[in-house]
């Protein structure tokens, strides 16, 4: 399961559609140039496809004013070409006319959406200012700003933790189960490991699968020691590596709103979950 292709936030989907539209537009431009007597050889078309990918990224980076969005676009640079290939496969049964019509519709939506994002800088208290990419349980880079657009639940834990951490994860599961269907699918659950040495993506994947939580909206992340400490500091999580695979840590479940601003904080184990659920419901009500 490729999380990068299934990121469920509406914003991401719209951005992907926007980039696809840009790719198609550039492709049409190339074909038009070729038809007008330009260098329309196959090689030129192939080279142009590559530069189209770059243009799409540059276009996104320039239009999206926030550093987070720009970084998001940069993070997609590597898969821009792959995106074009996927697009070709996914739309093989579409006619050029269908694509052109879809392009027109999506381009209009995308333009409006980009303007909206440009106007909406991240709030100063957003944890999404921490924009460097972690690695998820599929080995894919994932930067926190990618989560922008939907409420998220953050838990810091480590895989070898046998007492408190499973209960923290369970709390997150119970929060998810208590949500209405639409919000349940939209809300993101971000489990970040303290153990930057042992919790490899492979181990995190095994952990997620063992708990039945290898799902699109569950992200099991590991970062560098600095990234991990930065996130913990933003969330107010205290932890210490006691050596021999044991971490002393505080127990927190944090809800952030769609802009990454903390909106609920559950401290301790087996505490009432209503504040977290209410915060997600409130975020859902606003976004709807």
């Amino acid at each position: 399961m490729n999380v990068k292709q299934n990121r469920p936030t509406r914003e991401r989907t719209k951005r992907s559609v926007g980039r696809l539209a840009t790719l198609l537009l550039a492709l049409l431009t190339i074909l038009a140039l070729a038809a007008c007597g330009g260098d329309g050889s196959k090689d030129a078309a192939g080279n142009s496809a590559q530069s189209t990918s770059s243009q799409a990224v540059d276009h996104a980076a320039h239009e999206q004013a926030t550093p987070a969005e720009a970084r998001d676009a940069a993070a997609d640079a590597d898969d821009a070409t792959a995106h074009a290939e996927h697009s070709a496969a996914e739309h093989a049964d579409h006619t050029a006319a269908d694509d052109a019509e879809a392009h027109a519709d999506h381009a209009a939506d995308d333009h409006a959406h980009h303007e909206e994002l440009s106007a909406a800088e991240l709030p100063g208290t957003s944890i999404y200012h921490l924009a460097s990419a972690f690695t998820d349980h599929h080995g894919e880079p994932m930067a926190l700003p990618e989560l922008r657009g939907a409420p998220s639940v953050f838990v810091m834990f480590y895989g070898d933790c046998t007492t408190a951490c499973p209960l923290l994860v369970r709390s997150a599961e119970e929060i998810e189960a208590a949500l209405p269907q639409e919000l349940r699918e939209d809300t993101q659950f971000v489990m970040v490991s303290f153990d930057t040495k042992r919790d490899t993506p492979q181990n995190l994947l095994a952990y997620a699968q063992d708990k039945g939580l290898d799902k699109d909206n569950w992200h099991w992340l590991v970062g560098t020691p600095l990234q991990t400490r930065q996130l913990a500091t933003l969330l107010g999580v205290q932890y210490r590596d006691a050596g021999n695979g044991v971490f002393a840590h505080s127990n927190l479940v944090t809800v952030v709103d769609p802009d990454g601003v903390p909106s609920a904080r559950l401290e301790g184990i087996s505490v009432e979950l209503e504040p977290a659920i209410d915060a997600i419901l409130a975020a859902g009500a606003v976004s709807n």
Partner: protein
Amino acid sequence: MTRTVATLISLALTLTGALLTSASAQSEATATQAEAQVALALPAMADIEGGTVELLFPIEGEEETRIEPFRIDLFPVTNAEFLQFVMANPTWTRSALPEVFGAPGYLAGWAGDYDLGNLDPTAPVTNVSWFAAAAYCEARGDRLPTEAEWEYVGKAGQQGPLGSQEPGFNERILTLTASRPAVPQAVGQGEPNYFGVYDMHGSVWEWVFDIGAGMATGDSRSEGDRRLQLVCGGGSAGASDKSDYAAFLRYAFRNGLEGNYSNSGLGFRCASGGGL
């Protein structure tokens, strides 16, 4: 020898500061200038052999913390050095930094984003948040020292790595801690400790990599017991050295810090290597 090196470094810092003060008077700071000035400010670091340290509040079952060999700055990072950093990294200027990384008060005292104003370029930089301190060290290819590393160096006396074995050590450190100047003085004014490191006590409080880690709870279902150890009467019962009053002050101070907090007496130094 160490003192000679330190003196040379102090001179270099002074020169750097003078150059930077001159540069800050100019309204436009260029990246070229910043790069040239960075080249003047090579960090002077001490090599610290590995060992063990008994933290003030060990985790249950944890008697000593192993310290891997690492390096640590001889001096706290100065105003001049931090100015170089923000000139090369404008996202860390006062006007650009989001609140989550630096609360109001960040770089208070500076006359402008690239202007130290009346601050002594050779004094420790203060009014810096943890995020900014960590970013500075990262930009240098280093990191903040861990709390255990800082305490390991801070516990050193004049003759050996464990100052508490020297007569009057705890009292001297407590006096230094309690008599910090209101306005930080130029770095390197006092005597270096056994490791050749200056200003561990008596200058500014210092950020560490893992703020609050010393008070982290064990992997248990309870929350807050460790804080009770510190802030409640009788809480010192769990401390490893009840006579080290200055350590109580340091742990208490660090435990109360938020990552975006800053004040006029809080600075930092960088480290590298070690177990991180």
